[in-house]
Amino acid sequence: MTADEPTIPKPPKRITNDDLYRRSTQYRFWSFTTTELQDLRTASNRKGIQKVKDKISALDQTLPEAQVLNPENFPMVSQEEELSLVTFFARKCVDLANYFRLPAQVKATAVSYLYKFFLHHSVMEFQPQYIMYTCLFLAAKTENHFIGIRKFVENIPKTTPEQVLQNEYLLLETMKFSLAVHHPYQPLYGFYLDVQVLLPKLGKSQTWGYVYDNARQLVHESLFTDLKFCYTPPQIALACLWLSKENTKDENDHKGELILKRYLAKKFGVKKKKGPPNAASSGTGAMETISRRRM
């Protein structure tokens, strides 16, 4: 695919759904190339390192720590470690959300907020654990499942309302005040329906039902990857369907891929080079590497 299109695509003659997506904050503020993503993380890591150095240098010289700690060889958190930490707390976030019986949408949004926050800040500046609480609290509010602060902290040991609320403003600011997040769940359901129309016999079968359910699990997994920054929700949904199986225990089960190949061929024609098939496969590729890393 050549980049013969300009960076910002020229609007077509009639409004299309893709244009509508391009108006969303997710596209405008939170979609990056992999290099951009990398740069952002490097920058925040550096910022974090600098902060630690400053803090050490500012220590009262009379304290014993001041003698021991040296800013130059202080073990800083590396970029990879940062990412692991964030992912760790993201998973904890999902557990906590399950405790509150919050639906998938809230969980996904909270995790998304967490990752976004740590694109611009380092774990060395802010404790991810408390930021995670704030993310969940805010996500519950924005996704119409408001939990009062009292009830919220009652269920989290050793936490006060102030600890959760004090970061709320900072979180909003870091996210550039864009609160709406588009997840792959609804597109996934959409494809679930569309296959039933385009491939009638297969669509009605139990197989497809299982493939959908397992794909949904994969979407849960995708939340902890960088896919949400690099691809659009329908592309991720297709990738999950591609990778999905009917029987998860079976290594050689590639039902998802088979069904999807037929669906895509019917829908867009096999010949088409641009567009969804490619996006899905590149998305798939990314997914595969990342998910393999997880497991």
Partner: protein
């Protein structure tokens, strides 16, 4: 004998005295049956018997069906709920509230004739230009008068009405044309009147402005004269006064110019109105080159999916939304399906890695 005559005179006079007295003490209000229906007093409503004394703002209406008059409140009371019979005795015509109108002419016969004439002229609406010769025109007018006379004096009413009907059907087209031409003429007349009025207002304003300007100029000249006289010691006072007098704008000339321009404009616009293009109404935009669409281009017509509600199988949601709480609330599962399908194709073709590449 004289005594007897005197007694007779007395008796007679006392009798008449008694009768007179009787008449004075009984003020009899005429009831429906006692009222003389062919000679109703002017300010009395024969239906409710209210008169101008009791109700000074009383107003009367007549209905062209039977031309029987009654007051506004009676009309309201009797006909607001729908058509009903005329309350006058022996008049059983069905009257409708919206046909009542105020009497224009004092003589009811004149009123009747005018109404008839109006009705006939709506059908027979040719002008002199439409007929080829004066004779034909006179014949035409004669025909009109005959019909009006017949209808007004209730001669051959049925036959005449039929004649009218026939004529209107045959000449339907030309009648319509003539009518619309008349309407247009009336409109033009109104517009010209408006224009004239505007001209008058503008002229008046100019006159006022002129006066103001003249006053102002006079003051300025006076001031200038005084200043100059003070400063120029050696020059001749009269010369100075003359010079100042001649300087300054010639207001009268300018005024004349402006007036003539206004009048010229008026003539131009009047011509335009008569011709038919309306220069006055600048606000009416031209018919847009692009036809009106309610969405203004703002929706996708060709959807990338086909919504086939009956095919979809969903073990969970389909059952849930059958509950009456959903159905009574207008919840439509197809909306949810549609949203999901929409989301599935929103952003599908956006290639972020390409699009977010910084431009070089």
């Amino acid at each position: 004998m004289i005594l007897m005559m005197i007694k007779l005179i007395f008796d007679y006079s006392s009798d008449s005295f008694q009768i007179h007295h009787k008449a004075k003490t009984h003020i009899i209000l005429p009831t429906m049956s006692e009222l003389d229906w062919s000679n109703i007093p002017k300010d009395l409503c024969p239906v409710c018997k209210t008169d101008k004394y009791l109700s000074p703002e009383i107003q009367f209406k007549i209905n062209p069906e039977c031309y029987h008059k009654m007051c506004d409140s009676c009309v309201d009371r009797l006909f607001s709920l729908g058509p009903s019979e005329c309350p006058y005795p022996n008049c059983s015509k069905i009257l409708r509230k919206n046909r009542f109108k105020t009497q224009v002419f004092a003589d009811i016969e004149v009123e009747k004739e005018c109404d008839v004439r109006k009705r006939v002229l709506n059908v027979y609406n040719k002008t002199e230009k439409d007929l080829d010769s004066l004779d034909l025109y006179n014949q035409y007018l004669e025909e009109i008068e005959e019909i009006v006379y017949n209808l007004t004096n209730k001669i051959d009413v049925e036959a005449t009405n039929e004649r009218l009907e026939e004529y209107s059907i045959i000449n339907k087209q030309s009648i319509q044309l003539n009518n619309s031409r008349k309407d247009q003429e009336y409109e033009t007349h109104i517009k010209i009147k408006k224009l004239k009025r505007q001209l008058k207002i503008d002229k008046k304003r100019l006159v006022e402005e002129l006066k103001e300007a003249q006053d102002k100029l006079k003051k300025e000249k006076e001031q200038a004269t005084i200043d100059q006289l003070q400063n120029a010691a050696s020059q001749n006072a009269n010369d100075i006064i003359k010079k100042v007098e001649e300087s300054g704008p010639n207001l009268e000339e300018e005024f004349e110019k402006k007036i003539s321009e206004l009048e010229k404009n008026y003539e131009i616009q009047k011509e335009a109105i008569i011709k038919g293009d309306d220069l006055l109404v600048k606000k009416e935009k031209d018919i847009p080159a692009i036809p009106f669409t309610p969405f203004n281009g703002d929706r996708m017509l060709k959807l990338p999916y086909k919504l086939d509600v009956d095919t979809y199988r969903d073990p969970f949601y389909l059952k849930m939304v059958k509950d009456v709480q959903y159905t009574a609330s207008g919840y439509k599962i197809e909306m949810f399906f549609e949203r999901s399908l929409n989301d599935a194709f929103t952003g599908l073709d956006c290639s972020i890695q390409e699009e977010k590449m910084p431009a070089f």
